[in-house]
């Protein structure tokens, strides 16, 4: 429609205020960087409208702090190099230069305040309280703070001393995120109680740190709730074990709800569920939480939208309480229940238990031993808006149940996670998701191949008395693979040409895949299981867990990463071998040591055109060592398309220098974000000097784009 007169009109010709407005709406960092390269005016505009910044420079060069980003509101200082260090480089050996250091701290702090005057949200690695004490007063109007610490809590610190400077300096703090901050549970209540003004203004409090394996006791929980009555978001680990003193039971929950009636997001979990390793969940004792108590609890939280109660003890007969949940908390959208029994019986025509919560969009059920296929069918009938489903260790659920649920929820379900269920290995999980194969966007499965005893399963599922008014066929399972499968779906007349040929199943919209695989197993059967064609897959996360010392030797020489080359758009990979345990240096004769295991796991990575890699090396638990070995370095080095590399462990300097040969590499960091992170003076390999040498070398290279 452009007439000749406007043929020359250009984005550049827009008046400044409008252009500024447009620029400030762009959030993607790479786009912004590209915009800044267009011309000088655009660069100024881009710089002056950028709202979020994560500083990645080295701690030794504070003079390099950029001052052009005046509009930054979200500032992330937690990634400064070397990772995990004091942002002001307090070198322990320089004790005699203490005065100089105090000046330097003041100087850097002033510079930060000058460069970023408008910061309202700050993330910082707070190794000890002096960091916060120096930074918090710079921005008294701070609204959100995230503290990070994976190192040990400094000894002899008084309770609450970590938080006191922050709470004292920022009276209008509304959000405090300690989910990556290791401290004691006893630190929190005193800090909050001593600063009642801030505590009263806090709306979000995240205390779920996987590093600590303690939970808050009922008195501590009550203290926190009493200090912060305006909380809308609370996440905290709690002592639910009835054998412990001051365990959290019905009364404690009711007290919490009474103190904080505005809660809309509440996650109370048992600390054992936070550990990165999968525990075993043998049926344990009962929790001190009963259905009746829960009903009272829900009654006091009308604003509740997102609830997680992830316990390690059984909560029996929870169906009535869950029905009460849907009446008392009409806004409930997201629910996560761990070790709740009787969640949904699904034996009759009517909806019971969870299925009454019709507005649920996200549901996660863990360790529910009596969840059956008919429960799932009932849930599917009741929760018509469900878009995310996660099932963990529900051993009675079979392929049929999942299949029925996914076909009934075809129009909404896009995110499914199936893990730890005995009757659902990889192949069966994938088959069960057949009805949503073309719609699902995020998927997690366990890579359990071939379980021989599953073929003896009774073929007829428990038929519910409910009529199939949704007009989906019950699937007739023919033992052994059948090549001609036809499904009728509820709503669409989807002509599934592909489903008639088992091997070419395309997962058209799958963007993100997450896999769990036991140590020693290989990845290649994934194609046979059904994930051969994923044209949109960008992001994969593989977690390896197990004991490499006792598991049998792998059948193949390679783990099978080269298989992932089938996915054309795969750009981002997270390979977490951190829970694979083995021998680093002390392997007895005949055993594979960790360098050989790393070679096994990483072989083939050069065939993938990855953009970003997050790698956690396997660990030697005896010496608390998670270190990159020589073969691992060599294999990663061959992945020439890599731009970002994050290693969650340590390594030698000369190994790091191999990475300098990777042409496109821009951002490398060793992030020991596990507890306890190695202390600097005891760390084996990367020290401050090594880090700086490496980064200087990295930064001095020419970058092609």
């Amino acid at each position: 429609m452009a007439a000749d007169s406007v043929a020359g009109a250009h984005l550049h010709d827009l008046p400044e205020p409008i252009l500024t407005q447009i620029f400030s709406l762009v959030e993607d960092v790479r786009s912004r960087n590209a915009m800044a390269l267009a011309c000088r005016r655009w660069r100024c505009l881009e710089r002056s409208t950028r709202a979020a910044l994560a500083l990645r420079g080295h701690v030794r060069s504070p003079f390099l702090l950029p001052t052009c980003f005046a509009a930054v509101e979200h500032l992330d200082l937690s990634l400064l190099s070397p990772w995990g260090h004091h942002p002001f480089l307090l070198h322990y050996q320089q004790q005699q230069q203490y005065n100089y250091l105090v000046d330097q701290v003041a100087l850097v702090a002033a510079r930060l305040a000058q460069a970023f005057p408008g910061v309202s949200s700050l993330a910082v690695y707070a190794r000890d309280p002096s960091v916060v004490a120096a930074l918090a007063p710079l921005w008294p109007g701070l609204r959100a703070a995230r503290l990070v610490r994976w190192h040990q809590r400094p000894p002899n610190l008084p309770l609450g001393a970590d938080l006191a400077p922050l709470l004292a300096a920022c009276p209008s703090l509304a959000s405090l995120d300690l989910s990556q901050f290791y401290c004691w549970t006893e630190d929190i209540p005193p800090a909050l109680q001593e600063h009642p003004v801030v505590a009263a203004s806090l709306a979000r409090l995240d205390l779920l740190c996987p590093a600590s394996n303690e939970g808050f006791r009922s008195s501590e929980l009550a203290d926190i709730a009493a200090a912060c009555p305006n909380l809308t978001h609370l996440l905290a680990p709690c002592v639910f074990n009835p054998r412990c003193i001051e365990f959290v039971g019905d009364d404690a929950l009711v007290a919490l709800a009474t103190s904080c009636p505005r809660l809309s997001l509440l996650h109370l979990v048992d600390p054992a569920t936070l550990s990165p390793a999968r525990g075993d969940s043998d049926a344990k004792e009962d929790a001190a939480i009963t259905g009746l108590g829960l009903e009272g609890f829900f009654a006091r939280l009308p604003q509740l939208e997102d609830l997680a109660l992830d316990l390690c003890h059984n909560v029996k007969d929870s169906a009535p309480a869950l029905e009460a949940l849907s009446y008392k908390c009409p806004k409930i959208k997201s629910l996560k229940l761990g070790q709740f029994q009787g969640v949904c019986k699904g034996t009759w025509l009517h909806l019971d238990g969870i299925s009454v919560c019709g507005r649920l969009e996200s549901l996660c059920i863990k360790n529910s031993a009596d969840l059956t296929d008919s429960s799932l069918a009932t849930i599917a009938r009741g929760c018509r808006r469900l878009s995310r489903l996660e099932i963990h260790r529900c051993d009675k659920v079979t392929e049929t149940g999942i299949k029925k649920l996914s076909s009934m929820l075809r129009s909404t379900l896009v995110d499914v996670s199936i893990s730890g269920c005995q009757l659902l290995d990889a192949t069966r999980s994938l088959r069960a998701l057949e009805p949503i194969r073309d719609r699902i966007e995020r998927l997690h499965i366990d890579c359990i191949w071939a379980s021989p005893d599953l073929d003896q399963l009774p073929q007829t599922p428990e038929r519910t008395a409910a009529d199939d008014s949704d007009a989906d066929d019950v699937y007739d399972e023919i033992p052994g693979e059948s090549r001609n499968k036809k499904c009728k779906y509820a709503e669409s007349n989807h002509d599934d040409i592909e489903s008639s040929c088992f091997w070419f199943r395309t997962w058209a919209r799958l963007r993100s895949l997450s896999l769990w695989i036991p140590a020693g197993e290989v990845l290649t059967p994934l194609g046979d299981a059904g994930l051969l064609s994923c044209p949109q897959l960008e992001d994969i996360c593989i977690k390896v867990e197990g004991d490499c010392r006792t598991c049998p030797r792998p059948r193949q020489r390679e783990f099978g990463l080269s298989f992932l080359a089938l996915y054309p758009r795969l750009a981002k990979m997270k390979l977490d071998c951190g829970e694979a345990v083995g021998y680093a240096l002390t392997a007895p004769t005949g055993h594979m040591d960790l360098s050989l295991w790393e070679r096994f796991y990483l072989q083939g990575i050069d065939g993938l055109s990855l953009y970003e890699l997050d790698y956690s090396p396997p660990q030697d638990k005896e010496v608390n060592q998670r270190s990159l070995s020589l073969p691992a370095t060599g294999l990663i080095q061959m992945c020439s398309s890599l731009r970002k590399l994050f290693i969650h462990g340590t390594t030698h300097e000369h190994f790091m220098r191999f990475f300098l040969g990777m042409p496109l590499l821009r951002d490398v960091q060793l992030r020991e974000d596990y507890y306890p992170a190695p202390e600097n003076d005891m760390s084996t390999e990367m020290r401050v000097d090594s880090c700086s040498r490496f980064e200087e070398a990295l930064n001095s290279r020419r970058i092609p784009d």
Binding site: L585, T586, A587, P588, T589, G590, M592, D593, S595, L596, R599, E622, V623, S629, L630, P631, T633, G634, L635, Q637, M638, H652, E653, H654, F655, F658, G661, D681, M682, S683, T684, E685, R687, D689, S690, R693
Partner: protein, 277 residues
């Protein structure tokens, strides 16, 4: 001797370069010296037991991964003497007059030579995984045959060549014979040019001739099965070391007892450190 004068002013720098650390409190000084491929953090599991009662000195060998590789002077570190120079320079810089020396593998050799040069400095030598010569000889069983060495060297040279071209090689560990596997595992953790160089130094050294010059009392620590150091070597050491020598057995397998069996090693150390004199 020769090296000390050169490092007169630079002794402070040496302390920093080799990451010298002194921890703990006590009258007597214990020096912990690690072997190949690791660094002073290998003593992490043993350190807590010692630092209560002794002043512990830890340092990294110049070939360790945590030392700036630019400090490795290929012209200087051609023989073990340069390492001895470093050790003595450190002790002098710290003002240590007498100490217990705990050395693993390579460091044990260094300790033996240091005790010959400065006998008054060492109260006792505790040698873990020590051997005066690794290569077998006519009637001496050092544990390694020439073919084994050749295979290790071939792997290390391949390692080195790849490194020179900027590639981290993939041939490690599994590709050397089982007999040398545990020993060589640590070698591959070092920078290839340094490790090739140091290995040549070590495998060609033979201390059998000078053992008799040692006057310091020694404790030889022997594990139940050390693939790199056969048990006959411990007996050989006891027979030939000039001072009073005792053998302590640790009923655990492996070449690195401070990593794989720290508790057992600590008991041995306590006994060795506590005896009078």
């Amino acid at each position: 001797m020769g090296g000390n004068s050169k490092l007169g002013d630079g002794s402070g720098k040496l302390l920093e370069m080799l990451n010298v650390r002194v921890v703990g409190a006590g009258e007597r000084v214990v020096v912990l010296s690690h072997g190949f491929g690791t660094d002073q953090s290998a003593w992490n599991r043993v350190l807590p037991y010692l630092q209560r009662d002794y002043r512990v000195v830890l340092y990294d060998l110049v070939c360790a991964g945590s030392v700036n590789p630019d400090h490795f002077d290929f012209r200087r570190y051609t023989t073990l003497d340069a390492y001895v120079d470093d050790l003595l320079a450190i002790l002098d810089a710290l003002g240590v007059e007498s100490c217990f020396f705990v050395g693993h593998s390579f460091s044990a050799m260094v300790g033996i030579l240091a005790a010959i040069r400065r006998p008054e400095l060492f109260l006792r030598l505790i040698l873990i995984g020590a051997s005066p010569r690794f290569l077998n000889d006519d009637d001496y069983h050092g544990g390694f045959e020439l073919e084994d060495f050749d295979k290790v060297f071939a792997a290390m040279e391949a390692n080195y060549e790849a490194w020179v071209q900027g590639f981290a090689p993939l041939a490690v560990g599994a590709d050397v014979p089982a007999a040398v596997r545990e020993f060589s595992r640590t070698l591959f953790n070092m920078r290839p040019d340094i490790s090739l160089f140091v290995s040549r130094t070590v495998f060609s050294s033979d201390l059998r001739g000078v053992l008799g010059l040692v006057r310091t009392p020694c404790v030889v620590v022997q594990t139940a099965k050390d693939v790199s150091v056969p048990s006959s070597v411990a007996a050989y050491l006891k027979a030939h070391l000039g001072g009073r020598t005792a053998i302590e057995h640790i009923p655990v397998e492996g070449h690195l007892p401070h990593l794989s069996a720290p508790a057992a090693l600590v008991q041995v150390l306590r006994r060795a450190l506590a005896s009078p004199r």
